[in-house]
């Protein structure tokens, strides 16, 4: 029995220490959602908590859908998503929510062709034709006429796509639906779709793996994956008729291109954006926060963090292969942050 008492005392002492540690740690802000911005958010939380020791973050990258579910249920202080919430999803919310854009990403077309360098030119119709299974050979005249001087092999095109539901697929299929009516009517857009052809890989790494392992393969991945794996990427003809290579600058240009028509709630698709340098398959990623915060202290800390994220935070984006939000859009976001209140009192 003595032993048990000793063990109990030990447990109690540990509990006391733990609860003391919590007491000394005033604010823990919980969030959940998108996996795409996770590396950026981790960096932000780390840097911000270092500069502001009173605030700690706990972020679970469970996917955009999961983030929306958690913020709807109120189990987290903020959500994160790569696809704006639909009207149906917003109808289930207990209160008004704000979409705060934090970063931009690009989806790029990667391929594996021996002796063909990076930058193979494609038009929206050629890309849709490939993913619809209508263009099946690499030396198809439709590809060849865009790439005079490039020797294209007489090889089968092996299409690779995401097998898991993902925001990357959402942006890619939204783009194809926007630029090609055939795609829109037969396949449509969504986080997962009924692909007419091709192999499914799980995650960006899965698609990158299929493309790297299969000669003649073509697929789509986030820009960061293509860069890190040094894959050949296609150059796409954008809305203004220019062939553009996917870069961080070209991605930011897409947001600048729609800046004038940016809706007040930032729920906007950036695919096929205007602007002569715009990369056409770009997208925003958002943090989701309630307009009226239940807990004034947490709400205040969250707003302070967001103010920091859209200014100082943007400087960390390029190093992690995210495109920064252009300054005019940052000014608009700043105005939105002023709308966040707690019990009617502004928190900005």
């Amino acid at each position: 029995m003595k032993k048990i008492h000793g063990v109990l005392a030990g447990i109690l002492a540990t509990l006391a220490v733990v609860s003391f540690a919590f007491a000394a740690d005033p604010l823990m802000i919980n969030g959940a959602g998108a996996t795409f911005p996770y590396p950026l958010y981790s960096k932000w939380f780390y840097e911000y908590s270092n500069a502001n020791p009173g605030v700690k973050f706990n972020y679970q990258s469970i996917g955009s859908g999961g983030g929306i579910k958690q913020i709807t249920a109120g189990t987290v202080d903020f959500g994160a998503t790569d696809a704006p919430m639909t009207e149906e999803e917003m109808g289930k919310l207990p209160g008004a929510i704000l979409h705060i854009p934090t970063a931009m990403g690009a989806v790029v077309v990667v391929y594996n062709l021996d002796k063909v360098e990076t930058g193979l030119k494609m038009t929206p119709d050629v890309l849709a034709g490939i993913f619809l299974g209508k263009i099946t050979k690499w030396n198809d005249p439709k590809i060849a006429e865009l790439n005079k001087g490039v020797t294209l092999p007489n090889a089968d095109i092996v299409v690779a796509h995401r097998s898991d539901g993902s925001g990357t697929t959402d942006i890619f299929t939204n783009y194809l639906s926007t630029v090609n009516t055939g795609w829109k009517t037969t396949v449509g857009a969504g986080k997962a779709v009924n692909w007419p052809v091709g192999l499914g890989g799980k995650g960006n790494e899965g698609v990158a793996g299929v493309v790297k392992q299969t000669p003649g393969a073509v697929g789509y991945v986030e820009l960061a994956y293509a860069k890190q794996n040094k894959m050949s990427v296609a150059s796409l003809r954008n809305r203004e008729g220019n062939f553009v290579m996917p870069t961080l600058e070209a991605t930011s240009a897409a947001a600048a291109g729609v800046e004038k028509s940016m809706p007040a709630d930032f729920r906007v698709s950036l695919v096929d954006a205007p602007g002569k340098d715009s990369w056409p398959i770009s997208g925003l990623t958002w943090l989701l926060v309630y307009k009226d915060q239940k807990d004034p202290a947490k709400g205040k800390a969250l707003v302070q963090f967001l103010k920091w994220a859209i200014r100082d935070g943007q400087k960390m984006e390029a190093a992690l292969d995210y495109a920064a939000i252009p300054t005019p859009v940052v000014e608009k976001i700043d105005k939105t942050l002023r709308l966040i209140t707690s019990g009617g009192k502004p928190l900005y």
């Binding site: 089968d156 097998s163 857009a189 692909w195 499914g200 799980k202 793996g209 392992q213």
Partner: protein
């Protein structure tokens, strides 16, 4: 103590406690079934029996059917059994009957070690080694010369139902192997010696002994392997190609029930989520039916085998 075990209060308490744990297991199984059923009701109501025979999986149009997934699961598991059973039984016989003592330990140790490798590692190995090797040295030549046979029709991309079957077979070998060895060990030494003393060769001895004694046990081992193959998720997802269509050719892509759940569950909502859970329920039922059928066949076999001796 031993004679009054039922009356002893400590034993009684132990009996009650162990009964409680047994019921917890039963309760968990029932709860699992109930939750799966409840969550899959919207899809059951919307699609009904059509869900079983429809080959469409279209999250955009909200049309779902499970047939390609059931097909992919069964075919890849069947291929795995087809490869793994001869391999495991052959290896078991070698280790127990022919292998020199210095080889016995390392071979059986390494074979059992295969069971300890996480399935995601098998999947990665599948993507980077197995799939390219199968594609370049098996699928490409076979489609070139035997491509007219529907079973081997190209094009050979690599990720395929065959790749999933081969990978699964490697994963289930340790299970079938170790159970087969235990079954072989139950054969009385005297029975073996009797066959040899009558002038039988080693082959005849094994054939008679295994035919008489070991078939039910090996069948049981096969079912154990099959159960594992049916539910395997990660490794299959990584090599099967994730294409919800039914192709006769084993060189074409497929999809499995566990794989589609793992792939789409995270971002699914509404009727898609319910359909995924319905697939989970079906997988539960498929595994249940396979095991039940196996138990029944096994009981017949055991009865038959014991009559034969």
């Amino acid at each position: 103590m031993a004679t009054r075990s039922g009356r002893n209060p400590k034993d009684l308490a132990f009996e009650k406690a162990s009964a409680f744990f047994a019921f917890v297991v039963l309760f968990l199984a029932a709860l699992l079934f109930a939750v799966l059923l409840r969550e899959s009701l919207p899809a059951l109501r919307k699609f009904g029996a059509r869900f079983l025979v429809s080959g469409t999986w279209d999250p955009v149009a909200d049309q779902f059917g499970a047939l390609p997934f059931i097909y992919g699961t069964l075919v890849s598991s069947f291929l795995a059994i087809l490869i793994a059973v001869p391999l495991s039984v052959g290896a078991a016989i070698f280790i127990d009957e022919f292998a020199p003592p210095w080889l016995k330990k390392p071979v059986s140790f390494l074979a059992e070690l295969l069971a300890a490798i996480p399935s995601v590692i098998y999947g990665l190995w599948g993507i980077f080694i197995l799939v390219p090797v199968l594609r370049d040295y098996l699928m490409k030549p076979v489609t070139k010369y035997l491509g007219w046979i529907p079973l081997f029709k190209g094009p050979a991309y690599g990720p395929s139902v065959l790749a999933a079957g081969v990978l699964l077979s490697i994963m289930i070998v340790p299970f079938i192997l170790s159970v087969s060895r235990e079954v072989l060990a139950t054969v009385p030494q005297r029975q073996k010696e009797a066959v040899l003393s009558l002038g039988g060769t080693r082959w005849e001895m094994l054939r008679i002994v295994i035919g008489q004694h070991c078939i039910p046990g090996i069948f049981g081992a096969t079912v154990l392997g099959l159960g594992r193959a049916l539910g395997e998720t990660m490794a299959v997802t990584m090599v099967i190609g994730n294409r919800p269509e039914i192709f006769l050719s084993v060189f074409q892509q497929g999809y499995s029930m566990a794989a589609v759940i793992a792939n789409e569950f995270n971002e699914a909502g509404g009727i898609q989520l319910s359909s995924l859970i319905l697939i989970g329920l079906l997988l539960f039922l498929v595994t249940f039916v396979v095991n039940l059928a196996a138990k029944w066949i096994l009981s017949k076999m055991v009865a038959h085998a014991s009559r034969g001796i």
